[in-house]
């Protein structure tokens, strides 16, 4: 906890005070502004970082979606000429890389950053500056990857080897452009961001819980995000090893994957999928967590089988490590290896099935409100079920040999990633939007958005099952007539544009609802009659989150403060949310100061990346950024020297605000872990 930020600044009057005091440390003084665009560059507030993650991911989502549309124009008719083979191969690679590494992962990170501290009643994450560093490194890595599309020519230097970039096809002989270099370096950079974030959020979950918030009182979402962080912590190093070998093979002739030099090309596949399969759960568990918050709220019932939900998530987290070779059933592994992975793959369906059934049981007997977040959440249940069931058909390894690398697989994983993950994330957007921005998204546009997306996705990915079974291989830049592919490819393309309309509706909804919000009454702390702690504070939450630390007595603490039971055991409301919620108007809470250094350190990494590709001298420049940044970081005063400290609460003081104010101070860990 050495890096734990100490309390530093006053919320409202600190700036005014600062102006009158001398600045003894010059440039090393921490920035103080919390207003204006510049404050977003230096912020260490987990909520703002969450918003940054979400905003960046949405922009990348639009980019990845445009790539999908380009592919669908090309494939709408046989012998399409919209894209050349060369361009198409780059476009499908960037679509996959973008959607997985620059959309699904950071969108989950947005929810994790924003919600974990709120759901466990914490002031911030454990390491706020590392949190900022994680975001800026992610953004730098993402922009680095995307820049490959135009540096050195429009779509001539983007990776063209598929998102899993099998070797030796991704080697310098078979992929002579710079694209795979961008891939290998860019993903190492975003991997650093994921690792930092994983460590940060794990420590946050373990150490920063408020009084009484035992592990098994954490909301299911926080649990799923915690499991996700552990998966990241162990999975990212594996792909980093692979990417590192690939980078050295391509840039410095290291021969790791050169068959002529004695290499075994399946090594890459193992390294990639040992990461790649846990990655699937890294992507889907956060969505499962979101659904587990939305469905109880709009069923007005607690989650059915909390501990089964948590333990099935943990089980998926463990079993997820034992299924990677199901991506390699046709690669020539021996039949006994294949049999083992085939069995483990079948049985990972069990904990997933438990989740589906528990969601249904949560709804059973409830009072269901089918508004937009609920519709998206229910869509996850049925659409992910399709993806899971088609997964069972190719868990049977022999059957998989008729399906692998066909559109049947493309259909399968899009029902998982779109049906499960994107729908889940959209449920989360509509659900937490009022909490984060203080206004609800319009319901009518929301439902339009939902139906366009759900119909669009079924038109897009449903027929892909048929195309796959009819023998259309994935990653074809074109196809001839005469294979029976024409009709369904046209349907798929129409579906893709329907999805695009849905996403467009969502973007319109954001701006439309913001404009309308001024005419509507404020949403208040708890617009949905929810259950967890983030709804107990104002919307949007104050910078300091909680005025007072919350004493937690059980699962769904907030709900239990609103509702109780009468003598017959019937549920009755005995308090309104407004009565229970905190006002957020406290002004004397110490918060970690913003910092210049995370963005400085992060800037260095893509520069090093360009240096590795184009001129090693640039690496020196990038290295200077990193070293200077880290030096400044280490030398940065833990406090703003101008902060006023006279309202300091003593740790152990049993006063009402002791926990809140001291949570981020020197004794916070001991105190919180004792209580937790």
């Amino acid at each position: 906890m050495a890096i734990t930020e100490e309390a530093t600044k006053e919320l409202t009057k600190g700036d005014a005070v600062a102006a009158t005091v001398e600045q003894p440390l010059g440039i090393l003084t921490r920035p103080t502004s919390t207003k204006g665009w510049k404050s977003w560059l230096t912020t260490v507030d987990h909520k703002r970082i969450g918003i940054l993650y979400g905003g960046a991911a949405l922009l990348f989502f639009v980019l990845g979606g445009l790539e999908a549309l380009a592919m669908r124009i090309q494939l709408a008719t046989p012998n399409g000429t919209f894209l050349s083979a060369e361009t198409y191969n780059q476009v499908f690679t960037m679509h996959g890389v973008t959607m997985i590494f620059l959309v699904a992962m950071p969108m989950a990170a947005a929810f994790a950053n924003y919600l974990i501290p709120l759901q466990i009643g914490a002031r911030d994450v454990a390491f706020p500056r590392l949190n900022a560093l994680s975001f800026w490194i992610f953004l730098g890595g993402g922009l680095f990857l995307v820049s490959s599309q135009f540096i050195g020519g429009w779509w001539s230097n983007a990776p063209d080897c598929g998102w899993f970039c099998y070797q030796p096809n991704g080697g310098v002989i078979f992929s002579p452009s710079r694209g795979v270099d961008y891939y290998a370096i860019g993903l190492q950079i975003t991997g650093i961001a994921s690792l930092i974030s994983a460590v940060n959020l794990i420590v946050t979950c373990l150490n920063m819980r408020t009084r009484g918030m035992s592990m098994f009182r954490m909301p299911v979402l926080t649990w799923m995000l915690l499991v996700t962080q552990f998966l990241l912590l162990f999975a990212i190093p594996v792909i980093t090893v692979g990417l590192f070998l690939l980078m050295f093979a391509r840039l410095f002739d290291a021969q790791f994957f050169n068959v002529a030099a004695g290499a075994e090309p399946l090594l890459w596949q193992h390294l990639f999928w040992i990461f790649g399969h846990p990655e699937v759960y890294i992507l889907v568990l956060p969505a499962f967590g979101i659904v587990s918050e939305v469905i109880p709220t709009f069923s007005r019932k607690p989650i059915f089988g909390y501990s089964f939900m948590v333990f099935s998530g943990i089980a998926i987290g463990f079993m997820g490590w034992g299924v990677w070779a199901h991506h390699m059933f046709a690669s020539g592994l021996g039949p006994i290896s294949v049999a083992a992975f085939s069995l483990s793959t079948m049985f990972i369906a069990v904990p997933t099935g438990v989740k589906i059934l528990n969601w249904l049981a949560t709804m059973w007997g409830g009072k269901l409100t089918f508004n937009t977040p609920m519709l998206f959440a229910v869509a996850v249940v049925s659409m992910f079920t399709i993806g899971g069931l088609s997964g069972v058909t190719h868990a049977m390894a022999a059957v998989d040999t008729q399906q692998t690398d066909t559109y049947y697989i493309v259909a399968h994983f899009h029902y998982v990633v779109f049906g499960g993950i994107i729908n889940g994330l959209f449920a989360g957007f509509y659900f937490w939007w009022p909490k984060v921005f203080g206004y609800k998204l319009n319901e009518k546009l929301g439902k339009t958005n939902f139906w366009l997306m759900i119909i669009g996705m079924n038109l897009t990915f449903g027929p892909m099952h048929i195309l796959g079974l009819q023998g259309m291989s994935r990653r074809y830049y074109t196809y001839s007539g005469g294979y029976g592919f024409e009709l369904w490819n046209m349907v798929v393309s129409i579906g893709a544009f329907t999805i695009a309309l849905g996403v467009l509706t969502f973007i319109i909804n954001i701006f439309y609802s913001k404009r309308k919000a001024a005419e509507l009454p404020p949403v208040g702390p708890d617009p949905w009659d929810s259950r967890s702690l983030e709804w107990m504070i104002s919307s949007p939450p104050p910078d300091h989150n909680f005025d007072e630390p919350i004493d937690v007595h059980g699962l769904d603490e907030f709900w239990h403060r609103k509702y109780g039971y009468d003598d017959d055991g019937k549920v009755i409301a005995f308090a309104t949310a407004a009565e229970v919620a905190q006002t957020g108007d406290r002004t004397d809470v110490h918060l970690p100061s913003p910092s210049y250094w995370p963005i400085v350190v992060a800037t260095g990494l893509p520069i090093i990346g360009y240096g590795l590709i184009y001129s090693l001298w640039l690496c020196v420049v990038g290295g200077l950024f990193v070293v200077t940044g880290l030096f400044g970081w280490a030398q940065e005063p833990a406090d703003d020297p101008n902060a006023v400290h006279d309202d300091h609460d003593e740790p152990g003081d049993d006063g009402d605000d002791a926990q809140g104010a001291s949570a981020l101070e020197q004794s916070s860990t001991e105190e919180m872990s004792v209580d937790g």
Partner: protein, 406 residues
Amino acid sequence: MNSRSGRLAALAVLAVVFLAGCASDAPLDSLDPKGEYAQSIDNLFVPVFWVAVVVFVLVFGATIVMWWKFRVKDPSDDELPAPVAGNTSVEIGWTIVPALILGIIAVPSMALLFDIRDTTDLDNDYENLDVVVVGQQWWWEYRYYFDGFDPDVDDFDTPADIVTANQLYIPADQEIPLYITSRDVIHSFAVPNLNGTMDAVPSLYSPWKIQADEPGLYFGTCREFCGLSHALMRTQVAAVEQADFDIWVGQQRQPYTAPDEQLQAFLDAARDPDAEAIEPTTAEERGAALFRSLCSSCHLAEGVNDDLYDGAELVSGAAPNLTHFSSRSSFAGAIFELYKADGSADTNQLEAWIRNPPAEKPADAENKRGMPDLGLSEAQIDDVVAFLMTTGEEPSDFIKQETVVE
């Protein structure tokens, strides 16, 4: 209500379309097995597919029922439902039941897996025949070893009894062992009517097998992304009666022999360093001379340029063996047909191919991946085509007639 039940109906229709509606004119259809291996896979897939449909209908049906039954109909009614937080025995139940269903599915799945991977004791009349299938950017080579192929000792440079490309000939109703490998990147050999796919991994010789119940031409493709022309890396399997197969083998094992004596004499003279050179007088002779001088840098034709050929100047080290080129009905990775449906030769496409291959099929010819534009004159192209059309017995009519290329 309407949109939802409509959706349910649509999904049910879709489910039926899956099995019944997969178009009958889909030559790569995996649900249209034409051999015992593809059949055994189909036999496992179809029942599990229906189990999956039932599970989905139950899950989705439950959602619809709950929408019908439990949605808030009267917003003023603010009574809350009983906060049922779980039921351990129910939950244990629905942990065990799916596990049992999967356990039941696992049994035939495991049996089939070991069955389909077992390439020993195959039932055929060619005791030691092994066919090595070599993928490369962007075509398939087939190497027949009638005395057996031992992957521990041999490799794809071991001289084979027959070397051919694009079209794999097999005797119908016989189980033929294959070894799948690659000369460059990873490919995957799929002929869905006959068996599932097996990756072609450089450095591995993966045992696989193929069988067709009836004579016919079956279509195949590359499954694993392998670069620029992955979409144009096709293949065909010609299953023929055993007698026809034996005839084909007899022809293919011979080096090139000219259809007329004059051309043969011309070639013999060209191949004999001590003989006096003969001036070419016919298109075939000019074509043969050009083939020897130009095509030898990549293509081998036994009996034509084996005295000159010393490996292909390509990344993969091989280009299609053209000894019996015109005995195959397709070329350039099986994307173009050499014969019209009426059985006559169709040389227009072949001329276009020789005129400028990268324009016909994406390749990276300047980096020695794929056939380059050789800059031949129209007269030269006509000569080479004339010569190439002398290189083999025409294939059977049914092979020439079956086509999916438009």
